[in-house]
């Protein structure tokens, strides 16, 4: 059964189309990673699914409940950890989690019991009675995650869970997220980090400019890139010549990635040898050349024509993410 279903969701803010007919389905017990740059529409989709925003058109359900027809029903089934750690500095960690429990209609005793349980699980129990203002960024994020777990939601929505978390805590956070899913929670997380999606998600949806442009497991997406690539670095003056020569040996379209030329290598090492020869024939000496397995970054580049983290200043972005919050 699908715990989350979105069908053809459209959402616009004024002239800006934040979501242009997005459909996804998440199976029970799965981590679904929504991968895309800032402004792709990830947050807007999360806000629609968590009943914070009404879609213009399209339908969505969570745990079989329609998000528009019965938002309160949906809220009983979900937990949300938004882009900012929405925890109160002046309360202790325990008070923060207990408050959410009370707002979830738990009795005082149940709220206290669940807070204890959740804080233990998230490994914050030792700091539970300290004010949150003494917490590190990673601890705040974990507390936010703890708060979203109160009420034992069936589906958790994590919007860029590792933003603002230092690299060490990030690994901890990933472990925690994996444990959650092992315990039976289904999870939708958004990320702009390819390694995060790669590591956590059972299924990845690549989203860009409000549309889902591809979907599959990490391996499927990489395979669609045509397997391996030969990565070639040449001096700028040689670029055009090199590109011309490499096209003849490429098993697909040549892609430019920053300073590098990526040659789809259907024949693996043989394509590499061919590439070296082709360059030699036109008198270009590569600065660096090598065979490598594609990363999700390559996938993204192939699908969208730009890198995942390049468009952080895009104007549509601020509108769709902030717009989701403010418009």
């Amino acid at each position: 059964m699908n715990v989350v279903e979105a069908n053809n969701i459209v959402k616009t803010f004024g002239d800006v189309v934040a979501l242009e007919g997005v459909s996804i389905a998440i199976e029970e017990g799965m981590i679904y990673g929504l991968l895309g740059p800032n402004g792709a529409g990830k947050t807007t989709l999360i806000r629609v699914l968590t009943t914070l925003l009404k879609p213009d058109t399209g339908t969505a359900s969570v745990a079989g409940i329609d998000v528009v027809a019965d938002p309160v029903g949906v809220r009983h089934k979900i937990g949300l950890a938004g882009q900012f750690a929405a925890v109160d500095d002046f309360l202790t960690g325990r008070e923060n989690v207990e408050m959410v429990g009370r707002l979830y209609n738990l009795s005082k005793e149940d709220a206290a019991r669940q807070a204890e349980e959740v804080l233990t699980r998230i490994r914050l129990i030792d700091a539970a009675d300290r004010p949150v203002r003494t917490y590190s960024g990673g601890m705040r994020r974990r507390l936010d995650l703890a708060a979203s777990m109160v009420g034992r939601p069936q589906v958790l929505f994590l919007d860029e869970p590792s933003t603002g978390v230092d690299p060490g805590s990030r690994l901890d956070l990933w472990d925690l997220i994996e444990e959650l899913v092992d315990a039976g929670t289904s999870l939708l997380l958004t990320t702009q980090y390819l390694d995060e999606a790669d590591r956590l998600a059972d299924r990845i949806g690549v989203i860009d400019r409000g549309s889902l442009i591809d979907e599959g497991t990490s391996d499927e997406l990489k395979d669609r890139m045509g397997g391996n690539v030969v990565e070639v670095h040449v001096v700028p003056d040689d670029r055009a010549t090199a590109a011309g020569a490499l096209t003849t040996v490429a098993g697909g379209e040549l892609v430019t990635e920053g300073q590098a030329l990526l040659v789809p290598a259907i024949d693996g090492a043989r394509t590499l040898t061919a590439a070296v020869r082709a360059l030699d024939n036109v008198g270009v000496e590569p600065q660096d050349i090598g065979l490598r397995r594609p990363t999700l970054d390559d996938v993204f580049l192939t699908l969208t024509g730009h890198r995942a983290e390049e468009r952080s200043r895009d104007e549509a972005q601020d509108l769709s993410q902030d717009g989701g919050r403010r418009v």
């Binding site: 914070l52 309160v72 937990g79 707002l103």
Partner: protein, 281 residues
């Protein structure tokens, strides 16, 4: 799609009340746990009290100077009722600030993703601000008492006066909630909030009698709510025999005050709720 249709869950009223209590407690704890907030929100009104009494007090002649305890020799008895209203109105700006801060920090999103009553966010905010205003006004009374302020019509009437000032402050919290939710950022909310407050508080009978103002301003000053409330509070505190000399008609002022409080809540309550729905998508 596997959608369950035809059944729409609602938040129970008893739950909504308990949500409001939880949010009120949270907002109140913020002030208690961050003492600098309380400190600065009390220093300002006390400063107003001291400045107006000692700097302007000597120069301000009260119309009913012959009216004994409320006379110019005893400006503090004119000032305290006004200052209570002024403090409550200024204090209402905290509603705008608190809401914009919560919006910015994503706290409102967390609340809205929970199966809780939406009204609890606004109700819990305005009630917490009422609690804080009550504390600050209590402090003003103590400082005022030390400065020579006396109430002359007994404790119940004095308390009714304080309650009127606080209720008006509460009603004004809904104005500030609306402004805050339109302004969206704390900085904008701060400036926008004081736009209506300054003319209402200064072109009023809060600090000085309105008789000294130009005619056109008098018309405004005498009929606007802040003056009505300040005069109502005053009419419950100064000696009864001075009421006529000061031109204060107690029972009229009291019902007018309740009417203003009711009107402001009736208009700005729904406006704030509507704006809240819009600002959070």
């Amino acid at each position: 799609m596997t959608t369950v249709t035809g059944h729409r869950q609602r938040v129970k009223f008893s739950n909504a009340l308990s949500h409001t209590a939880v949010i009120t407690k949270r907002n109140t704890l913020r002030v208690v746990r961050l003492p600098q907030l309380l400190l600065f929100s009390t220093i300002q009104p006390v400063m107003f009290l001291l400045l107006f009494n000692y700097v302007f007090g000597g120069a301000i002649a009260i119309g009913g100077a012959q009216g004994g305890a409320a006379g110019s020799d005893n400006y503090i008895n004119w000032l305290i009722p006004g200052i209570l209203v002024q403090t409550a109105v200024f204090g209402a700006t905290a509603t705008a600030l608190g809401l914009t801060e919560d919006l910015g920090a994503g706290v409102i999103d967390r609340f809205r993703s929970l199966p809780m009553a939406r009204s609890a966010v606004l109700a819990g905010r305005t009630i917490a601000d009422l609690v804080r205003n009550t504390f600050v006004n209590g402090l003003m009374l103590i400082v005022g008492f030390l400065m020579g302020w006396r109430f002359e019509q007994g404790i119940p009437k004095m308390l009714l006066g304080v309650a009127l000032a606080l209720l008006f402050g509460y009603a004004f919290s809904w104005v500030m909630a609306t402004i805050g939710l339109v302004a969206k950022t704390p900085e904008a909310a701060q400036s926008a909030g004081f736009l209506p407050i300054f003319p209402l508080v200064f072109a009023s009978s809060v600090f000085v009698p309105t008789q000294g103002m130009p005619g056109w301003l008098q018309v405004f000053a005498e009929n606007q709510p802040v003056s009505i409330i300040a005069n109502a509070v005053r009419s419950l505190m100064v000696p009864e025999q001075t009421l006529a000399a000061l031109g204060l008609h107690q029972s009229t002022l009291i019902w007018q005050s309740f009417a203003w409080i009711a009107i402001i809540i009736a208009v700005f309550g729904p406006l704030a709720v509507r704006q809240y729905r819009r600002s959070v998508g």
